[in-house]
Symmetry: D2
Subunit: 220 residues, 4 copies
């Protein structure tokens, strides 16, 4: 899809000009204490076979590992999420209404699909949040947990750009956290969708930055 | 503590007079579809030994079972909660700040203490919500799950009156659900505290009613 | 930007094929009681001059009016939102962190910019919600207010597609409401952004439908 | 009601013994940055005439003023709340379900009753939050606003002990803030209710401390 990439790049340039003239696309920047959020890097998203399987995992996973190494080295907080359901049949389900749009009935609590990919194995003391909705913050204790830790900045990584990552980033700034998205650490499953969603995020909700810059900031 | 009961009864009569004169203590009543909420009836609260062990379980458990039977018979939604933590040491805990007030570090995810008491064994398709805070609604997907089910009324039972039951009832009406508390289905662990909290709940947040009346309403 | 429209249409076709094969892009459909949500159709967005001024208002406003007429005729609930701030200077602001990304310091409480455009004048008994974040649900009582009204479906209209409308729709389904977006009733301010965001919404969060179909459904 | 006070004191001593043995009633303590929360000190609560009128305002108001002076002197954040409704008739009200329990239909947006008592006049730059539910946090942007300010401790004052103050304190610790309640700064309207609710708060949700101690801590 070279043609798509070219026209998207041209569009983003034009749109950026409008945003800059209007005072959008400011830098939210780093606060005093970041947490690393690794969103839905579970087998159902990172491995072939599930309806949720994503593209580009061979580059996204090593990119997230670089961040993980730095966060662990600095003893900074790391939170993983997965999305899984206990009751996927009948009217009394924990899926809410979301299965009316997307095939979340395939993500069962305790399944291999819901388990974090072993290439990103959570360490002892790293919390794995099982969420029910797209956002890692919506209907969860994530915000209060990070607040209690004194966290003010959220480095958001994982999948997918157009769904769980984007909704989480929108909620992060709404909750009073500075969201930073390292470009190489985010994936999705259809053409154009990562580029567009990162563009929107950078314009309005959080800073999309090269991984190298984020690594340098966290190390500093 | 007969003396306490006597003076509390007298106080509630006087206070009720003020509330009635002022237009408080109205009946919120029943909507079209109730859910049964069984709060923290896990071994740590229902059995001796834990710091959270409650009094009166020999009457509270059978009372809740009567409701469970009717809800199951009518195929109405039932949700259980327990409170448990994955990371109870170090700075990156899911306890938030609550362990700075109460000994929640003793309630570990996957422990016998966090498991629902077998006398109230959840059936297939009945969701067990592991919450992190007092309220069953705070930082959970309970509200959206009940809304998606079409529930408009919450029958709140369990422990404790002064903590998880009360905060859940306050949140229930704030979220737009009609809270009903069957008096016999609620317990706690110190003198006077059930009576006082049910009095406050009935004045301002939900209807405290005899179990027999609630059973009759749900059956009807 | 005909070239952009053409390539976007081609991309959405390809992406839709993937989504359909995977079981995404299902129809959430209509429940029993809809509410109309008119998002940020205040002068700062609908009229020239402010950094937030949007394109296409000459078609979006009449489209929303058609819906307003039907909702008022049927006596169904209508909620307007605007975004405005009381304290836009100093450290103790109600803007949270959002002014670090977008120029919200220009939207003052009580200003002409924050007032609903007179072409969409709220009627008596129609609530105007002053929100502080992108989503109409985040940090507001909207969800509980709609729940108390028995609403189960939200017809989302207004501006902007990539920000307040999208975040509101994501939150609506997360909260247990069925979101429907009438395509003609949504605007934004840069090229391509309405099309892409409606595509993402329709794939994962709510149904994007022609206004004529939505009008027919509400009338029925 | 000397008899009530005596028996309550005796009960609290007995209950405290149980709580201490069990590891409850810990001190949450002060963090690095406190905010002062002045809850519902509006004319409807502080002056005679409304159903919400409270007792003891002649001592509560000067006590809160002492705190206000220190917070202003130190340029620390102060947030006032009031509770008021735009639509108090018909089905589409912003009251949610709460008017089914308490007479909140008497508290109209823009009325004298909803205005902060002039003895506690908010200063420029002090935010007045108009809330719809009991808790200052529920369905509001308070948590995210305080988080964005770097606040980690909430000094909760105002009315009433059994309703808005208690629910706010429960939510404050659930959200990851340290709640401190200066005993002299809280009021209510029926016998026994301040004492009991402060006792429950101190056992489980926040530290109830003498005003002199809180003043000394904030000054330090």
């Amino acid at each position: 899809m070279d043609e798509l990439d070219t026209i998207l790049a041209k569009t983003f340039d034009l749109d950026t000009e409008v945003y800059h003239r209007r005072g959008f696309k400011r830098r939210v920047g780093y606060g005093a204490k970041p947490a690393l959020l690794v969103i839905d890097m579970a087998n159902g998203w990172t491995q072939p076979g599930s309806p949720f399987a994503c593209d580009g995992m061979n580059s996204v996973i090593p990119a997230i590992r670089e961040l993980l190494d730095v966060f662990r080295d600095k003893k900074l907080p790391v939170v993983f999420t997965s999305t899984a359901y206990d009751v996927t049949e009948g009217p009394n389900t924990d899926m809410g209404l979301w299965h009316l749009k997307v095939p979340i009935e395939t993500m069962k609590t305790g399944s291999w699909e819901a388990e974090i990919d072993s290439r990103l194995q959570p360490a002892d003391g790293e919390f794995v949040l099982i969420k029910k909705r797209a956002s890692a913050f919506h209907g969860t204790h994530l915000s209060s947990m990070l607040k209690a830790m004194g966290v003010d900045t959220v480095i958001a990584t994982g999948v997918t750009a157009s769904c769980c990552v984007r909704h989480s980033v929108e909620d992060a700034i709404a909750e009073g956290f500075r969201p930073i998205v390292p470009r190489e650490c985010v994936g999705d499953r259809v053409a154009g969708v990562v580029a567009w969603n990162l563009f929107d995020i950078d314009a309005k909700f959080g800073d999309v930055e090269p991984l190298a810059d984020v690594l340098a900031q966290i190390k500093a």
